[in-house]
Amino acid sequence: MGDHLFPLHEVGSLAKPRWRTKGLRQPLTTSDLNEAEEWASRLGIVNYHDLAKEVLKNGPDRQRKLLQLSTLYGLRLFEKAGLDNDGVGGEQQRVEMYEHVIKNVEGMRFLGHVNSFDYKYFRKAVAEGAVDRSQPIYVQEFRDVQKLAHRAVKVPITGPYTLVDWSYNEYYQAKGTEGSSLKERKMSARRDFLLDLVEKVIRPEIRDLVEAGASWIQIDEPALTTHPERAELEMFVEAWNETVKGFNCKFSDHTCYPNEVGYRLLAEYTPELEKCSQLTLEFANRDSPELGIDGGAREGYQALRYFVDNGYDGEFGIGAIHVHDYTGVAPKQSGLVSGRDIIESPELVRDRVLYASKIVGDPAKIWVNPDCGLRTRTWDVALAKLTNLSKGTELARKEWA
């Protein structure tokens, strides 16, 4: 990196291969292993048979070997697609971004599932005591990645604001907080919970990661734009600045899927984020599938202006491909729509990158990435999308040169 414009990086999780998910619970069958072998061949994993033998052994470290193998696959998939920074291989060692952290936090207890919509649910925990990290959360994964990665590594972690927002808060509410109304007291308890989580859980984790050699930590805060209110943004800034204080490491924020005013309000506060070298944001989801580098075709990237106009002077990681179900249509030259997927064409990616560069005004500040993690897409689709992301970015480099 640094030797070409528009470096590429991943943002979040990849789907877990069937052999990885099943293998954690039960022995693998020949058909599971055939699938793993086929992907090993596609991803150029030459010592597959030696690695598979380890996974098939019924030893005490079988599960760890399986997670390491899955991590290797994720890293090689990103590498094959042409990314410059392969993250931690698609978060193969994590159950899910919330649970993975909470299960390692004393004082938290899972209460059950809550309906999100239709027949989709999420698991929710409560703070019923003072929070404290019970053991390192991401360090083992990072050590594995260090051994396996051929390219640069960024460690995504779930941000404290999101962890608080997705949890119930009994302990800090019961502790007695300030405020004349129930709303003020609830808000005050939310802040206490957040700052405690930063101090007792997130900072110790970052300290361990940095000591282990992490040079870039991406703080994922998908909940940040859920509450587009000034008091919430102020609380987020306070927590962010406490989180990163004193660490010698690159930090970036990843936020996605805000409502209509989410980015506009967030943009006002981003200049106050200390050591926030990059904002990695979702844009493709809100963009049109038409080719072109004018504001009409690139409506989804207009929100970048808010950040520039408000004086944020760091890098931007721009989401240039969609990651969820695609229900629209697209002109032939913009991509291939099949079922619930769109494989964006390199030309569409190129135009998005060029337009974003035009708005930001300095192409050296532009990184290119998917909108968010590709975990809802199959590996075939993820690889095809990322490959075109890479090709499209190369077209943009040539165009800009």
Partner: protein, 329 residues
């Protein structure tokens, strides 16, 4: 005659872990719908029994089958695009299918069973259904057909009135119209003007006026103070406020004939409010506002907490209402 203090359930109740697992399995084509339906009926029956035990005069089925807070209404209306676009439900971590208006809206296919499981409700109690109010339905839709939002608002109000009349004809006596968009604005580029809000209230009036049923208009997720007095002009049984967003001490003190729905149980927190605290708080509010009647209720849908907690919160409401009634007698 209704008691001046009651406990009532509102909106979507929580599904149990068993029902959650079954719906997930159904989603993965692993179990037939009949199995889900059996569990839905059994859990609805349990919820009805709980309301009976607590002495709730008005009974709901908990809307356990509703896929989101708008869905049965949206599925009954023509003039909306087929879409799988989901949007965030206010400031929660939950979502709803966004209605995309691309034609003239009208009530197209009405099936009362999608709104209320009347076969499972007690015949000797009054039935209550919670519906989105016209202003909120309009605000949460994308209008690609009507030239103004006001036009869409009027059309939605007309459709909602039809739905109310049809549900009333199958026995529903009380309708709670949810209007969070009248008080929660951060998702908008600009705050709604006074005219906008007045149109919202007029739309509510056009839904309820002349209908031989009772109505409650509930506000939540935002501060009801700015609009509370205007809502008092509606011909409704009660106006609702979310006590976790509205500082009741700042609500206007004025003579009123409309009752108060007090969103006193926090549907977004797991801590179960104790009946004594509910009684103390409700008494203070009632003392200040002198409402002719008070309905103790969750501030919004109890779907935001797991089922066991939702049931415990409902039980606390019932117990608090009983204690307050005893105090009055």
């Amino acid at each position: 005659m209704s008691s001046p203090v009651q406990a009532q359930l509102s909106g979507l109740h929580a599904r149990s872990e068993s029902l959650i697992e079954l719906t997930r399995e159904y989603d993965r084509n692993r179990v037939p719908w009949e199995k889900v339906e059996d569990q839905l009926e059994s859990e609805t029956a349990d919820l009805v029994k709980l309301q009976e035990k607590l002495g709730c005069e008005y009974q709901t089925d908990g809307a356990l089958s509703w896929k989101d807070q708008l869905r049965p209404v949206v599925d009954s209306i023509s003039g909306l695009a087929e879409s799988t676009r989901y949007s965030r439900w206010f400031d929660t971590n939950t979502f709803y299918k966004k209605p995309i208006v691309n034609g003239t809206v009208a009530l197209a296919k009405f099936d009362s069973g999608t709104f209320v499981k009347s076969n499972l409700l007690s015949k000797d109690r009054k039935w209550k259904v919670t519906l989105p109010g016209p202003y909120t339905l309009t605000e949460l839709s994308e209008n690609k057909h009507y030239s103004t939002q006001s036009e869409l608002l009027r059309e939605f109000a007309s459709v909602l009135r039809e739905i109310v009349l049809k549900l009333n004809s199958v026995g529903v006596k009380l309708f709670q119209l949810s209007e969070p968009s009248l008080v929660y604005w951060p998702y908008r580029e600009t705050r709604p003007s006074t005219d906008d809000l007045e149109q919202g209230i007029d739309a509510l009036r056009s839904v309820v006026e002349g209908v031989r049923a009772e109505f409650v208009v509930n506000t939540f997720f935002g501060d009801a103070c700015p609009i509370f007095s205007s809502l008092q002009s509606l011909p409704v049984k009660a106006v609702g406020v979310d006590l976790y967003e509205t500082n009741w001490e700042t609500l206007p003190q004025e003579a009123r004939e409309v009752g108060l729905l007090l969103g006193i149980v926090d549907s977004e927190e797991s801590l179960v409010e104790q009946p004594k605290w509910l009684v103390d708080t409700a008494s203070k509010v009632q003392g200040k506002l002198s409402c002719p009647s008070v309905i103790l209720a969750p501030n919004t849908d109890l779907k935001f907490v797991p089922r066991g907690i939702a049931d415990s919160k409902l039980s606390s409401l019932g117990e608090a209402a009983r204690l307050l009634q005893e105090g009055l007698s």
